[in-house]
Symmetry: C2
């Protein structure tokens, strides 16, 4: 890929997988182990300071399952890596034939709740692991982070501005998507605007101001081009002088029948500067001119600014949100929860390891609401249990075919905002939030007790 | 992009830009500001604990400059966003015509050193900013992090294992590339193997072991498929019992004329477990069986393990390296350093702001070595200065055409390893490393003094 952008097209994404998925599958195939099994994709624990997770990324997982294929180029490469002909023939015709249940994107979820549950011949279930983890990790990490930033902004619009420091091209797109789902009002990413319909926003850089002889000249030039939607960056030299120049231009615009949209602060003490600039604007009869702030912002900083009374109308949030800088991943895993025994019967299984235990069997998550519709608690139960609550997992793939009516991005966003509005304030605090109750159903607990006993017995035997 | 993987192809990457690049350019165009200017891409400061940066990502920037175009779909979308016809006509025919100088990938660099220097009509220079920052940020962040992990491993191979939690598809590829440049021995990412020729590695997951009736059965099945290259994951139930089972399989392989390649530890106290397992293997005449370790590793943890005498032969390092988890970005920026004055003459310019000052003019970085070839110090100078050192920036684009003879990935990796070997130990310590000396040349210092005086005078006037 020398002298190329090295971008991955859909035709190659099937190979974006850890090699061990393929070596395991080759061995399953070699040992005629083709029976079905069930896997859960879930998040083991909450990242620091997070008290919930906002699930995103499902759409791309389902497309990966249904649409991607191995090509002859892939087969040739795998052959060069020592894979055998019969397995390669199998891959040539590879197609997912199983069932998938999943939580809709934009749903608030919690650790240990299955988010995607796959029941399929074990090779098929295995070959979707890496991609599913990759895209759900990114989008859920960012949606969760962005929802906190939006919460901290108390209804003032937040624009996602992080493209330049997000991790590559795909992240640039998926971060814009996930942030929008989480309630951001838009993005700076033009391609995300074109492809996803997310509103795009942009102002100007310091270089624009510096490239003219004076700041005033730069502001006039910009206002000439965008008389009805200019936001002027006023901190290149001195924010107060910048505000004075912006006021001059705003008045000139008024004479022509236009209104300056806003001024942008990008450095310095945003609390005192925003107050001063607000007063200057108001004193000049420009109370309609908005103050937009940016510069190293995240949920903690925005919360602090607003607590201190900063006069800011909207925020541009970049790197720290776009990389989820304080924790750039979630502890996401994909674990076997059920396999077929010698008699061809599905048997729930689990890992016992301390801190790495998994929940056995095919499960469903039930969400209980109070009379007002607010979330009260979740119960993780076995699939066939009758629990008086809303089941979160829905069937999305049946016998390899997607049976899910994909929501639009706007619908996903609405679900997210509804979910966030139904989560009590105490669970949304930026630090030291209360722990939302997630329980295991009686039947699931009983199953775990039984399996523990059985596994201990087997372990005892193994030690003989 | 509903029901799609939402991957960005080369045909659309031109639009992967912050909107403000386009609004600024529209205004430059509108104001007939088409003269050239120079920009520096550089990193303002070192991330915590880092004492150098390993530069990567240039290849993709150059391809972006030379090859990407605006399409009619892009123009149509921009029109819907309010851009004017004459500017859209300009974009239709947009082509970069300027010059670019850059540091080769795999070079060790330091804060404030220009890494990419662009001299072009200001619109052209502006329209590459977002993509250049995006890919250099990702690849340099990861190459730097990975070089630290490789350093901590003291010559023992490090395999990049992070695909499942890297930020999307493009990051999955670019992280594999950057880690390999930094000295990793390979990756788990099969597509990176196919596209970049990076060696791919893989073992098995816990689910593989759990899907069989017993661990021994799972090991035998895997060894049957890969008799000459099996690494068995031995911690699914109990690492010591797992080692016993691996020894059984190793002996069975020996009878068939094969050798077990290794065992993998993925949890628990890796120091004591690796010592015990090493002794068990050695006592069974299996000193050739390697111990591979993984599980939440990074440079700090590997250093600690090896200091405590862990018997580990190679490492699989995932999430923390693949996201550079302790600091998932570098403070990378792209700043105007030179513009054309009213008389058509290039004039160096700079920003004075505290902590955000920039260096004026077209610059070159000179690296001084001692008699043994080790790095002594760097001098940032004006382009035309004669300094007795190796100039780091080379011409890579001339009048819009790439004139750079792209090195292969192996050559980039060799440069990185040579560079790292030439950097004194004291500059490579994982924490509290010495500060490598980077000086400004006398001429550059003099220019800065002059510009400061001039800017203060202008500011003084502005305040009148």
């Amino acid at each position: 890929m020398n002298n190329s952008l090295g971008l991955v097209g859909e035709e190659n994404v099937k190979m974006l997988t850890d090699l061990y998925e393929l070596t395991m599958c080759a061995s399953y195939f070699d040992n005629r182990k083709l029976e079905p099994a069930s896997f859960d994709l879930f998040i083991r624990k909450l990242p620091p300071n997070r008290s919930y997770l906002l699930f995103a990324g499902l759409e791309h997982v389902l497309h990966f399952i249904e649409k991607t294929r191995f090509t002859e180029e892939h087969i040739k490469f795998l052959k060069s890596q020592g894979f055998k002909e019969d397995f390669l023939d199998y891959l040539r015709n590879f197609k997912f034939t199983g069932d998938v249940w999943a939580v809709p994107e934009g749903t608030i979820v919690f650790p240990n709740e299955p988010l995607i549950r796959v029941t399929a011949p074990i090779i098929e279930a295995q070959l979707m692991e890496t991609f599913a983890l990759n895209t759900v990790n990114l989008q859920t990490t960012i949606a969760t982070k962005a929802s906190r930033v939006v919460y901290a902004a108390r209804g003032k619009p937040v624009i996602e501005f992080g493209l330049r420091r997000e991790h590559g091209v795909d992240a640039g797109m998926k971060v814009a998507r996930a942030s929008y789902i989480a309630g951001c009002a838009g993005t700076s990413n033009v391609l995300a605007g074109m492809k996803y319909g997310i509103p795009v926003f942009g102002t100007m850089a310091h270089s624009f101001v510096m490239s003219f002889s004076t700041e005033l000249e730069a502001f006039r030039a910009f206002a000439k081009t965008f008389p009805d939607k200019s936001t002027l960056l006023i901190d290149t030299f001195d924010t107060i002088k910048g505000a004075e120049n912006a006021i001059v231009v705003a008045k000139e615009l008024e004479e022509k029948g236009f209104r300056l949209r806003g001024v942008r602060l990008d450095s310095g003490d945003l609390v005192s500067l925003s107050k001063k600039v607000r007063r200057m604007l108001d004193d000049s009869g420009l109370s309609y001119v908005q103050i937009f702030a940016s510069g190293d912002l995240d949920e903690y900083r925005i919360d602090e600014l607003l607590k201190k009374g900063a006069k800011i109308d909207s925020f541009g949030v970049g790197t720290k949100m776009g990389t989820s800088a304080d924790k750039p991943y979630v502890d996401i895993i994909y674990k076997l929860c059920e396999k077929v025994d010698g008699k061809g019967v599905f048997q729930p299984i689990m890992k016992l390891s301390e801190g790495k235990a998994t929940l056995p069997g095919r499960k469903q998550v039930f969400r209980l609401r109070d009379a007002e519709g607010n979330f009260v608690k979740d119960i993780i139960a076995l699939e066939d249990e009758k629990i008086d609550g809303e089941p979160l997992l829905v069937k999305v793939v049946e016998k390899g075919r997607v049976v899910y009516d994909f929501p639009t991005l706007e619908e996903i966003r609405e679900r997210a905002l509804e979910n966030l509005s139904r989560l009590h304030e105490k669970y949304k605090q930026l630090k030291n939030a209360a722990k939302y109750p997630v329980e295991l159903s009686p039947k699931l607990k009983k199953l775990i007790r039984e399996l523990r006993r059985k596994l201990k017995k087997i372990e005892g035997l193994g030690a003989d």
